[in-house]
């Protein structure tokens, strides 16, 4: 245990995901010895992210205004919608440069063991977006693991009766991994080779 401010910082850092007590201590002492201007920038960035960033009211991606950059972009086609679990998956797919449609971010995957059912995700909002008939194809790009696949199965059952083509990323994405770790080439190929479900 250290005194006062340094221990407070170690405690706060230790509450972050993936940061153990040893890492928290290492980061805290790094901050202590860092240039004051760098530390100020970090503190300001932490504050700004909470003040400025919110969720797009259309697709639930992170946004700095009512709508995110992608929903505001008139060059993006509205007839293909890609469903992902998290905003970081939007980033991963954007990196491939393969996709010109829009997104819908669910906020996770159906995982009964964690108490997450369909009502805890933005599925109702997705159905509302699909109701006006603009979307012709729905790409299910949930993670290639059990929860992601089961979520895709659930959504396909819900959406197919609406007469919308439902596709899933091509196999070739290794099962068990997170979408965000797929490299651009693999993910790009999975997009090109998507199959109807």
């Amino acid at each position: 245990m250290y005194e006062g401010a340094i221990q407070d910082l170690i405690d706060e850092l230790g509450r972050l995901p993936g940061v153990g007590p040893k890492s928290a201590q290492r980061i805290a002492f790094h901050v202590l010895s860092a240039d004051p201007a760098d530390v100020k920038r970090l503190a300001a960035a932490l504050q700004r992210v909470k003040e400025l960033v919110r969720f797009c009211t259309t697709c639930f991606n992170v946004a700095e205004s009512e709508q995110c950059r992608i929903c505001r972009d008139p060059r993006r086609t509205g007839d293909v919608l890609c469903v992902v679990e998290e905003p970081k998956d939007v980033v991963a797919i954007e990196r491939t440069g393969e996709f010109r449609g829009r997104y819908h971010v669910l906020g996770g995957a159906i995982n009964p063991l964690e108490g997450i059912g369909p009502d805890n995700l933005r599925i109702r909002e997705l159905m509302a977006r699909l109701a006006d008939g603009t979307v012709k194809e729905l790409i299910l790009a949930t993670d290639p693991n059990t929860e992601g696949e089961a979520t895709a199965t659930y959504l396909a059952l819900l959406v197919k009766p609406m007469g919308i083509a439902v596709t899933r990323l091509a196999s070739g994405l290794p099962v068990g991994g997170d979408l965000e770790y797929a490299d651009e080439i693999t993910l790009g190929r999975a997009f090109e080779g998507r199959r109807a479900v």
Binding site: L113, T146, A150, G176, D178, T186
Partner: protein
């Protein structure tokens, strides 16, 4: 050097739960045959290049090597024996039933690394039956729950009065009393399920699939409700997965 020797064991196990840890790891909760419930870290499992591939996905039956650590164990090697999860992802109701089986197994093994062979075999058998698709998923789940409660020592009484022990298929059912109750012992507020419902519950508890498979929808629904109520009554915290089981 003895203090630094790593202990290592191999066992077969069912994957009950996977939780993200840090950047690319997961904590895997395993129900092992000889070591009971064990939590161990699978390093790098979320990377698409992981050597573990799909073998540590939920509900799989695997052969696993565990390296004992001071705080958390680490998974060394894994071989898939039967990766049931693959068959549940195409069938959403079965996926939700498998989740409820896994959560129940976890909750009925409160102490880590305490062997529970009978419950292990029951859990493995239930997942195998669920994957086999021979019986309705909700029947497999309710049969599992009834038998698992039996192992825990609080199965609902179905063939004798829960209070006085008088033999027979009594018509009233009371969760607080412990199951079926005779007219003399019946507490206020006891339910009066259809006889077919109690027949179904008895069949599920005994594994009489001929009777269970022939049951109708309303008996299944009512039995599921009583089984769930009985289970929740005996667990300190409610199961999270049970209300999410798709019984359509």
């Amino acid at each position: 050097m003895t203090g630094f020797r790593t202990k290592l064991y191999r066992d077969d196990a069912v994957v009950l739960r996977c939780q993200k840890l840090g950047e690319s790891d997961r904590i895997i909760t395993l129900f092992t045959r000889r070591h009971g419930r064990v939590r161990a870290v699978a390093k790098g499992v979320r990377r698409t290049t992981s050597k573990f591939g799909a073998r540590l996905e939920p509900f799989g039956h695997v052969d696993v090597q565990i390296v004992e650590g001071r705080t958390l164990h680490v998974i060394g090697q894994v071989e898939g024996i039967d990766l049931f999860g693959k068959r549940f992802i195409e069938d959403y109701p079965r996926y939700t039933a498998a989740s409820a089986i896994a959560e129940t197994a976890e909750r009925l093994t409160p102490v880590e690394e305490e062997p529970a062979l009978r419950l292990y075999l029951l859990t493995l058998g239930a997942l195998r039956a669920l994957a086999g698709g021979e019986h309705a998923g909700t029947l497999v789940l309710d049969s599992y729950l009834l038998r698992a409660m039996g192992y825990a020592g609080w199965a609902p009484a179905l063939s004798a009065c829960a209070v006085c022990g008088t033999d027979g298929r009594h018509r009233a059912f009371s969760v607080p009393a412990g199951g079926c109750v005779c007219p003399d012992c019946r507490p206020p507020g006891a339910a009066h399920p259809a006889p077919a419902t109690l027949d179904l519950m008895a069949a599920l508890a005994e594994g009489d699939w001929r009777v269970a498979d022939a049951s109708d929808h309303s008996a299944r629904r009512e039995a599921s409700g009583l089984v769930a109520a009985h289970l929740q009554w005996h667990l300190e915290r409610a199961l999270r997965s049970l209300p999410l089981v798709d019984r359509s």
